[in-house]
Amino acid sequence: MQFADFLALGLVLLAAASFYMGESALTGAEDLHALYWLVVGIVALRAAVQVARPAEKA
């Protein structure tokens, strides 16, 4: 495994934790916090997928 693979895994974990926080905030009617954590989760997921993809030949 390369460094980028570990980074991708870490980003998926970060996304899961962010969604967890976002849902928790949404349940407690803290909409701004929920929005923040959900956006962080989406960006982290997208970044994880981009990092995980193997590099193309130059």
């Binding site: 495994m1 390369q2 460094f3 980028a4 693979d5 980074l7 991708a8 895994l9 980003l11 998926v12 996304a15 899961a16 969604f19 967890y20 976002g22 849902e23 928790s24 949404l26 349940t27 009617a29 923040y36 959900l38 956006v39 962080v40 989760g41 989406i42 960006v43 982290a44 997921l45 997208r46 970044a47 994880a48 997928v49 981009q50 990092v51 995980a52 993809r53 193997p54 590099a55 193309e56 030949k57 130059a58």
Partner: protein
């Protein structure tokens, strides 16, 4: 037991969908329609829903797939009418979590049975040829199951929220967000697992990081913004 299953498999798809349909009706529609103080419209619509299911079984033999479609829509619309006529029955305090989960499973099974082709009975012996078992073209690499298990676990944990929210709109929003986030996590975990098997080129790490740089920068900015707000509060 085997006879019942064989008989059921000999029937059409609408008949097979009746079993989970009646279960879903029994868990989610009947308690609402026959609750104390429910309207006549709800009761009539709930009975119509059952009749639509039965009509699908009878009509499938004569009209085939068309009867199945009418039966499906008739059942779903009659159930929706029942729920619309008894909105109080779905107040969060009157629905407990096990019943909610049982209802979700029932409707999921009904959707699956309605959409999938009918199960066939046991095949005739002479049409089965004994041969070497087929070899998979590619074996699964160890660790893929771990990625998928992690994705499924994270998605499952997200479903624990929102069962005791007082407002129905917020409860629905929490459910919807939880489902969407769960699907996203499972999808991303699958992509990360599959990406490990693709061919690699030399010195790929910097190229991969460069491609995701704008997202990583956005993530960093979001993190800093969050820290700033946390310290200000």
């Amino acid at each position: 037991m085997a006879t019942v299953l064989e008989r059921l498999s000999a029937l059409g798809a609408a008949a097979q969908a009746t079993v989970p349909g009646v279960y879903a009706w029994g868990v989610t529609v009947a308690p609402a329609a026959w609750a104390h103080g429910s309207s006549v419209v709800a009761k009539v619509a709930s009975v119509l829903a059952l009749l639509a299911l039965a009509g699908g079984v009878a009509g499938e033999r004569r009209w085939g797939g068309t009867a199945r479609i009418y039966s499906l829509w008739g059942f779903v619309l009659a159930c929706a009418l029942t729920w619309s006529a008894t909105p109080a029955a779905f107040a969060p305090l009157r629905i407990d979590a096990p019943r909610g989960i049982a209802g979700m499973i029932g409707w999921g099974l009904f959707a699956l049975a309605s959409a999938a082709p009918a199960l066939q009975g046991r095949r005739e012996e002479e049409r089965i040829t004994d041969d070497q078992p087929l070899r998979p073209r590619k074996g699964l690499v160890r660790g893929d199951a771990l990625y998928l298990a992690f994705g499924a676990l994270a998605a499952g944990l997200l479903q624990l929220f929102g069962w005791r929210v007082a407002t129905p709109e917020r409860a629905l929003l929490v459910r919807f967000v939880g489902l969407a986030a769960g699907l996203g996590i499972i999808g991303a975990a699958t992509e990360v697992a599959l990406a490990r098997h693709k061919k690699r080129v030399a010195r790929p790490t910097m190229r991969r990081l460069r491609r995701a740089m704008y997202l990583l920068v956005a993530l960093g900015l979001l993190g800093m913004t969050g820290l700033l707000f946390a310290f200000r509060a």
